[in-house]
Symmetry: C2
C-alpha cells in the first residue's frame, strides 16, 4: 500500500505558480502554471463529450505528436473556452505560444486547460497578464496556491502526494492537484487534474494512466453531467534519476494519488453533505454492475433521500430496476452501513426475498445520519461487481447552479 498525503511538499524538477489575472470577477486566484525543468513524458485522459472545448482539442492533438517533450501546462479558471469555435482554438494556441516564449521552449511543448463558463471567449489580456505574473512567481513550494487557482465552485483545494522508492534505490515523488465540484460523472467531467512524478516508468505511460483513471476519476458521480473540458494530465520527468518497472510502486501510487483526488472531488461536490459508497455485486457482468451503480448514484430521488437522512431504500431498489439490466427482485439483497466499508459484512440488511427485511428503523436512521454511508446491493445473479463513489443532492446544489453565471 502507498501512503498518500493531502498536501504537496514539493516535487523536485517541477516549479509551479498560482496567480490572479482578472478572469474571475471576484479577483480570486484564477491562473496556474506548472513548468518542468526538463522535457517530460506526458499522457492524458479526456472527456468523451462530443462537444470538446478548445484546450481539450489542442492537448489531444499535441499528445498524439509530441508526448515525449512536454515542458509546461497553463490552466485558467473562470472561462471554459468551450463552444468558442475557431477563435477559441486560436486563443488556446496563443496561450501556449506566450508561455513558450516566456519559459523558453517550443510552442508545441506546452499544454493548456480551462474551466469555467461555457460559450464565452477567453479574455486574452487577462491570460497575458496571468502568464507574466505566473512565470515570475514560479517556485517548488507553490502547489497549494496553484491548486487554489484552478478552483471554480470548489470550496477547498485538492492536493495529494506520495514519497516513493524505486527498485533501483532512488527515492522519488508523485503528486497531483484537481478541481471538481459539479458536473461530475463517470468517464470524466468538469474535472481538471494534473499529476506529476520525477521518475521514469519503464512502461507506456498512457496505459498506466488509463488504468488509474478507470479506478478513480471514472468511478465518481456528483450530478451525472459530463463536461466539455474534463482533462487528466500526467507529466513525468526524470529529475530523481529513478527508473521504475511496472512491478514497482509506480502503478499503485498513480492509483492511490488519483483516487485520493477523485474522492476529494466527491466530498467537495456542490452542496454535498454526505459521501456515499455504492457497491454492486452479483450482477450478470462487471459492465452491468457498473450501469446499476451509476443509475443509483445519479438518481435524484436516491440522492435527495440521503440528503434528508431518510433510509428510503425502496428508491435504491427502484433505481436499480430501471438501469436496463434484467434483474430478479426475489434474488436481490440490500445492506447499508456507516462509513466506507463492505455493508454486507458490517451493515444492516434492509431488503431480501423481494420484501423488507426485519430491521430496526432506528438503526437504519442512525446509519444514514453519518457523513459517510455505504450501500451494497447484491443482485444474486452472477459475478459482476463495481464500486462507485457519490454524494447527496442538497438545496445548496440547486442554489450554486441556479446562480452560477450571475
Amino acid at each position: 500500500m502507498v501512503d498518500v498525503l493531502p498536501t504537496i511538499a514539493g516535487v523536485p524538477g517541477f516549479k509551479v505558480a498560482g496567480v490572479a489575472c482578472g478572469l474571475k470577477k471576484t479577483g480570486a486566484l484564477d491562473f496556474a502554471l506548472i513548468v518542468s525543468d526538463t522535457p517530460c513524458t506526458a499522457a492524458g485522459v479526456f472527456t468523451t463529450n462530443q462537444v470538446k472545448a478548445a484546450p481539450v482539442l489542442l492537448d489531444m492533438e499535441r499528445l498524439k505528436q509530441n508526448s515525449d517533450r512536454i515542458r509546461a501546462v497553463a490552466i485558467n479558471a473562470g472561462c471554459a473556452n468551450a463552444c468558442t469555435g475557431q477563435q477559441g482554438l486560436d486563443n488556446a494556441h496563443q496561450t501556449a505560444r506566450w508561455v513558450a516564449e516566456r519559459i523558453g521552449c517550443a510552442e508545441d511543448e506546452v499544454l493548456v486547460m480551462s474551466t469555467g463558463v461555457i460559450g464565452m471567449q477567453l479574455a486574452m489580456d487577462s491570460i497575458r497578464r496571468g502568464i507574466d505574473l505566473a512565470v515570475d512567481a514560479l517556485g517548488e513550494n507553490n502547489w497549494e496556491t496553484a491548486a487554489r487557482a484552478i478552483m471554480t465552485t470548489d470550496t477547498r483545494p485538492k492536493l495529494a502526494s506520495a514519497e516513493l522508492r524505486a527498485a533501483s534505490g532512488q527515492s522519488y515523488q508523485m503528486a497531483g492537484i484537481a478541481k471538481g465540484a459539479g458536473m461530475i460523472a463517470p468517464n470524466m467531467a468538469t474535472m481538471l487534474a494534473l499529476m506529476v512524478a520525477n521518475a521514469r516508468l519503464a512502461a507506456p505511460l498512457p496505459s498506466l494512466l488509463h488504468v488509474a483513471a478507470e479506478q478513480s476519476f471514472n468511478r465518481i458521480v456528483v450530478d451525472g453531467d459530463m463536461s466539455t473540458n474534463d482533462t487528466l494530465l500526467f507529466l513525468t520527468n526524470n529529475q530523481s534519476g529513478a527508473v521504475e518497472t511496472p512491478a514497482g510502486q509506480y502503478p499503485d501510487a498513480a492509483r492511490a494519488v488519483s483516487r485520493r483526488l477523485a474522492q476529494d472531488i466527491v466530498r467537495d461536490g456542490e452542496g454535498v453533505t454526505k459521501f456515499i459508497t455504492v457497491q454492486i455485486t452479483g450482477a450478470p457482468g462487471s459492465e452491468a454492475a457498473r450501469q446499476i451503480a451509476n443509475t443509483i448514484a445519479t438518481s435524484p430521488l436516491v440522492k435527495t433521500a440521503f440528503f434528508g437522512n431518510d433510509a428510503n431504500w425502496g428508491r435504491i431498489v427502484a433505481a436499480a430496476g430501471r438501469a436496463g439490466i434484467p434483474l430478479d427482485p426475489e434474488r436481490m439483497k440490500l445492506w447499508m452501513a456507516a462509513g466506507e466499508t463492505d455493508a454486507a459484512a458490517h451493515g444492516l440488511l434492509l431488503f431480501e426475498h423481494g420484501m423488507p427485511a426485519s430491521y430496526s428503523e432506528a438503526e437504519a436512521s442512525a446509519i444514514i445520519r453519518e457523513p459517510s454511508v455505504s450501500i451494497r446491493l447484491d443482485c444474486g445473479l452472477g459475478e459482476g461487481a463495481a464500486v462507485v463513489w457519490t454524494c447527496d443532492l442538497s438545496h445548496e446544489y440547486v442554489s450554486i447552479n441556479a446562480d452560477y453565471r450571475s
Copy 2:
C-alpha cells in the same frame, strides 16, 4: 382537432368515488374506485422497471387473460405496495376480491393501482374501509374527488375530458384522471393514469393506447427516475351505443386527453416553476433525437439553470454532447423562445458554427424568465426529430424529496 376540457362533467356508464380511508397520515382522500355499469374492454401500459409493484404484476396478468370483462379499478395512495413480496401480491388480490364482492362481479374483473411509499405493506383494514366507503359513495359526478384521492405530492388534481361524435351519429365521452409529481421519466414513471370512454373502437385497444402513450406520457421528464408502479389503464364500455372506426375521432381524442394529462403532470411536477419544451431536429435518426432530448431534459445543470433564469445555453450544448450520439458542434444550431412554440421560427438564435451567435443577453434573459420556454436544437445531420416536455429543478424539489417519508 379535438377540444379537451380540464374537467369531467361525467361519463355515462361509469360511476366513481374518492374517499379517505386512513392510508395517508394526514387524513386526506386516499382511495378511489371506478366502476363501469357493464363489462369493459380494457388495455394497459405499464412500467418497464425490472422491479414491478404487486398491483402492476396483477394487472398485467389479468389483462392478458381477461381484457374484455373488466368492471372496476381500485386505486390507493399512501402506499405503493412495491418491494412487498408474496404478501404484497396477496394483498393486491384481496383488494380486488373485496371490491368484486361489494359490486357483484368476479374477482378477475377488478384491476388495482397503488402509489406512495415503497417497501411497506398495505394496511388492509384501511383498504377494507376504503372499499366500503367508496362503494356507498359511487356516483357519476365524483371525478374530481377521485382525482384528488390518487394524489401524493401533486398539488392539484389532473382531469381531462372530451365530448365526441362517432361516424355512426351517436355522441360519446372520453375522460381521464392522472397523478404524477416526482419520479417521472419517459417510459412511464410514478405516474398513474386512468382513461375511460363509453364507446367501442372497431380496432384493437392496446395498440391505440400504446400510440397515445408514446406521444404523451412517454414524452415527459420530471427527474429522470422511473417508478415501480407506473400504470396507464384505458377502460371502454359501450353505454353510448357508438362504435368508432380508427378513421373517427377516437385516436385523436385518446392522444389529446393523454397529452393534456401528461403535460399537467409536468406543470405540477415537484417544485416546478417552469415548463420547458425541448425540440430536437436534424438528428441522425428519431431514436437519436429522443436520446438527445432526454439527456438535456434530465441534466441537473440544465434544469437548475432554468430555475435560476439563467440562459446558460452552453449547458444545453454540453448535455447534448454526452448523449452518446455522434455530433458535430460546427453543424449544431440552438434557439430559445418564450411559450410552447417552434423556437427556430419564433425565437432567438444562441449558438451556431461551434460558437455563440450574436444575440442580446437582455433578450435571452427576458425569454428565460417566462413560465413556459421552448428550445430547439438542430443537429444539422439528418432527419431525426423528437419533442420532450420537462421542467426545472428547484429548491422545492429537494425539500419535497428529502422529507418524503417523514
